[in-house]
């Protein structure tokens, strides 16, 4: 456990020094600030009425930004460390592979999750000071969704890093995967598939296994579960699952998927050449 914590601390310290982290933290901090500026402007007609709409917008934007950030930075740093020779030295030290791999996973989780979470908490605190009602249930739900989303894409990133032998290949693969998941969202390819009258089961299955779609549906669920916002596939799924069932699915499935990918990455990592 001490070695795992040491590896996690090393990754956290490394990330805090990296330029990508500064950009990443600024993007989410700036996002919240921008939403407040525009949100307050919009609400001048009715006054500042609450944080619900702001949080939904924030979570939707997070869904678009966080995965690509997580994927690209994770594969860049892991595959980059291998390619540059850092692994050759660090893995010649007597640190167990499990502690090294999972320590970096934990460290990376902390570093990716905290800015997004803290920006959200900052928004809530500011809204609270302004006298807005604080939607605690929504905040708890979104926090859990962010945890789940972060684990999912870290898992994918770690798996790619274990498989790819160079930064270029890892980065290319990460980008293609993100693009595929983005394309198979309800409002893009799934909508087209519905229009083309493809089998409903097929479309619903695609919507259920795409973590981005699961996250998007989950994020909209508490706010306004109408067909016009959710998209046709999500609407059908929600109808079949029910609200509670879908909430459970939205937490459990992406996290389980991410952990499964991370475990596969570990399996591959410890069996193949380390450098």
């Amino acid at each position: 456990m001490a070695n795992l914590i040491a590896a996690a601390r090393l990754d956290i310290a490394e990330s805090l020094r990296a330029r990508w982290f500064i950009v990443y933290a600024l993007v989410f901090g700036g996002l919240v600030a921008a939403l407040f500026v525009f949100g307050l402007t919009e609400s001048r007609v009715m006054g500042f009425t609450g944080l619900t709409r702001l949080l939904v917008t924030y979570i939707q934007l997070s869904m678009a930004i966080l995965p690509v950030f997580v994927l690209v930075t994770t594969v860049r740093s892991l595959a980059g460390d291998r390619e540059s020779g850092n692994f050759e030295y660090m893995l010649a030290l007597p640190v167990p592979l499990s502690a090294w791999y999972w320590g970096r996973f934990v460290g990376r989780f902390v570093i990716v999750f905290l800015p997004v979470f803290l920006a959200m908490i900052g928004a809530v605190a500011y809204g609270g000071v302004k006298g807005a009602d604080v939607p605690w249930l929504q905040i708890a739900f979104y926090t859990a969704l962010l945890v789940s989303l972060t684990i999912t894409f870290l898992g994918i990133g770690f798996l790619i890093s274990s498989l790819a032998r160079s930064v270029d290949i890892a980065q290319g693969a990460a980008f293609v995967i993100w693009l595929m998941l983005l394309l198979f969202l309800d409002l893009i390819l799934l909508g087209v598939m519905v229009r083309e009258q493809l089998p409903a089961d097929f479309i619903v299955t695609l919507a259920l296994i795409n973590p981005l779609q699961v996250f998007r549906t989950g994020a909209m669920l508490l706010f306004d579960p109408q067909l016009v916002l959710l998209g046709p596939a999500a609407y059908v799924i929600l109808d079949a699952f029910g609200r509670a069932g879908y909430i459970a699915w939205a937490f459990a499935y992406p996290a389980a998927l991410g952990l499964a990918f991370a475990w596969l990455g570990y399996w591959r990592f410890q069996r193949s050449d380390l450098v």
Binding site: N3, A6, S84, G85, L274
Partner: protein, 298 residues
Amino acid sequence: MIRIDAVTKTFRRTPVLDRLSLEIGAGDRVALIGANGAGKTTLIRCLLGEYSHGGTIEIDGKAPRKARREVLKRIGFVPQLPPPLKMPVGELIHFAAQVCDSAPERMVDLAGALGLELAEVSGRPFHKLSGGQKQKILVAIALGRDVELLILDEPTANLDPAARRGLFDMLAERAHLPMIVSSHRLDEIAGLVNRVVELDRGRVVLDDRVEEADDTAAVQACRLEIARVDLAFEKAVGEWGFTSDAGRLVWHGRVAGPDRLRFLGMLARYSGLLTVIELGARGAVPDLSDAGRTRRAG
């Protein structure tokens, strides 16, 4: 100590290690030599458990790949190229000491003995240090813990003569440890080893004993005379810490025992310029007034 049996490693169908077998005993200090691509670094990586491979490798009966922690705890390793780690030096030392169950102070002291005050560079990113500073830190990490085997990949590559002398002193204190020192050239490391293994295309092509260095920590005083003032010569011997008289024709300095071949190799470039080369007797000799001095050229 180390048993390597029919080890094979292939990259994209090209065998880099080809059924390589070797046994290294507890008293062996092995020079692993060979041209680029001979398989030296690949073999070292297999010994460190970093590569999967065919055949078997056992270090004291344990496979490095399976019993990583137990095996690596006993190996001090210095890589050929310093890793481009961005972490501050202090953080690297702290991490290494923690996973090696050692005290950071031991590594700091050893770096000091090599001429690097860690307090001055502790907050600087490792990759921003000079090649020599990086090498000193890696040597300090490798030796600053309780190890039973040293694997050094071109350990003197980035070190100046004074630091090399410091390294030789440290290795002399650990002369009882088995050691694998990899190098392109035997003359770089001849004074450190008692056995030479040459690899070519992944096979052992030479396995021989070499004359034991009588004292790895020995230092020899040296006096040089040249026919005329020469700036290139002055620069070259200046790097070895030599100083001259006012006329700049007579030069004095000290050479570490294991560095003799390397030093003489450097002097060979100035053979047309040199009129006298005097090397003092081996041992910690401060000047050339000893009776044992030898006139080598004139």
